[in-house]
Symmetry: C2
Subunit: 260 residues, 2 copies
């Protein structure tokens, strides 16, 4: 089995190191990851400037390719140019911090796996629910088991799995749940500050407002110490609204004159 | 009516200028847009660094706020900090170049409207199908009519409209269609080049492979000179796979030992 691994925390992060070591037990692993942290970059790709590829070493040995781009760039150039044969599976993570609910939209970790799904490769993003993780071993083990499961069962083209693992000892894990993307969202606050030259600047912060009430949703599943697995795709069409809008008389807009 | 306008081509682009002038005929317009072009930034938001807000002038008058961030940043800070009252509608564009099929995932233009939808504001992204547009007047007129339509009918929370306008004279427009996100995708090519110091760099290019065959899809609708309106949302759950995966015996993974 050939696996391409990427992430958004950067190639030198502890999470990708734990993931790669675990997956190496079952597969040939190629690492293509951002040189620097790329959190919250969403599904950005680099077109206006070129990319550079650096060989990155760890423990005195070649570990993988570091790219001065986004997670989606890493997956694209990894598959198109750096791997000699295409991967069987693409895995992104282990992210430091959960990627649930609306954060799936902002997440660089998820975008790497989504890019693989767009390219018709089976893919998985995996995150652990804390920014200060001491022990990635359980998450790394679950990643390995899920990769074997995906290898066996396959995934439909265009579908990826978004996995979130609670940051608790393995003995406290309540179980594994298949979940839906939660509806929780951010109540944003821009902290207004003044620089040494008297000019304002604004720093984004905020609180996640929980809008889900059942462990059917990723956000509540992890809160209750379940490993959450959400199948996601990239067809954004709102089919319910599509059916409704077909009743709108849009053609009339062409002729209509607008009153000021 | 209060409208917030943003884009991804930057506050000095011709497309946003045409849009603002058209919408000013029917509403109070606040412009909050990126200082520099932010194409293909996906749904990136700025968290690791602060944002700065600049007052931008055009034709010798205050035109709007320029932000050194992404389109999604502009919508967030526009609504949270810069507008004295929340907008009735958020409009992003007019983008230079179409935003159909998989490009909806990469698009900064769409991300600005999607951010508004996440914040529960009615929103619309509008693009014209060419990078070298001479006349934005028809697209600007359609934008105005659709804004009035949205103002009258409303949109469900979390749904936005993604509008693409063919770059042809108004007399050649075939009509207006409600469409689905197409399945066309990019066959990426990284052009490998050598810099003056003998080092490689890679530049993303490629061809859009058309995988749709009906004007039900955005990509084919615009090709046939229809204005395409696609309702999109940000619930990425793949419900079909969700139902299937509930049959997977995932609990067994917790106990299972992995053979190397």
């Amino acid at each position: 089995m050939r696996i391409l691994v990427s992430n958004d925390d950067g190639i030198d992060s502890a999470g990708i190191y734990a993931l790669v070591n675990s997956l190496k037990e079952i597969a040939d692993v190629t690492v293509v990851a951002p040189h620097k942290e790329q959190s919250a970059v969403g599904h950005a790709i680099t077109m206006q400037t070129p990319l550079r590829v650096f060989e990155y070493h760890r423990d005195g040995k070649f570990f993988g390719y570091a790219i001065d781009g986004t997670p989606a760039d890493c997956v694209k150039i990894g598959i198109r140019n750096l791997m000699s044969e295409p991967p069987d599976i693409v895995v992104s993570g282990i992210n430091h911090g959960s990627n649930t609910a609306v954060n799936i939209i902002y997440s660089g970790t998820v975008s790497a796996a989504r890019e693989a799904a767009i390219m018709d490769f089976p893919a998985m993003a995996i995150s652990i629910t804390s920014h200060s993780v001491k022990d990635f071993s359980f998450a790394a083990k679950i990643a390995k088991k899920l990769v074997l499961e995906i290898y066996k069962n396959g995934l439909p083209n265009g579908t990826m799995l978004n996995v979130n693992v609670p940051n608790v000892p393995e003995s406290e894990i309540a179980g594994i749940l298949i979940t839906k993307q939660g509806k929780s969202k951010w109540d944003d606050i821009y902290e207004k500050r003044v620089d040494p030259y008297g000019r304002n600047y604004y720093w984004l912060t905020g609180n996640l407002v929980e809008l889900d009430d059942s462990i059917e949703f990723d956000q509540i599943a992890i809160k209750n110490k379940y490993v959450s697995i959400t199948p996601i795709h990239f067809d954004l069409t709102d089919y319910q609204m599509y059916e409704k809008m077909k009743q709108w008389d849009v053609e009339k807009l062409l002729a209509q004159k607008v009153e000021k």
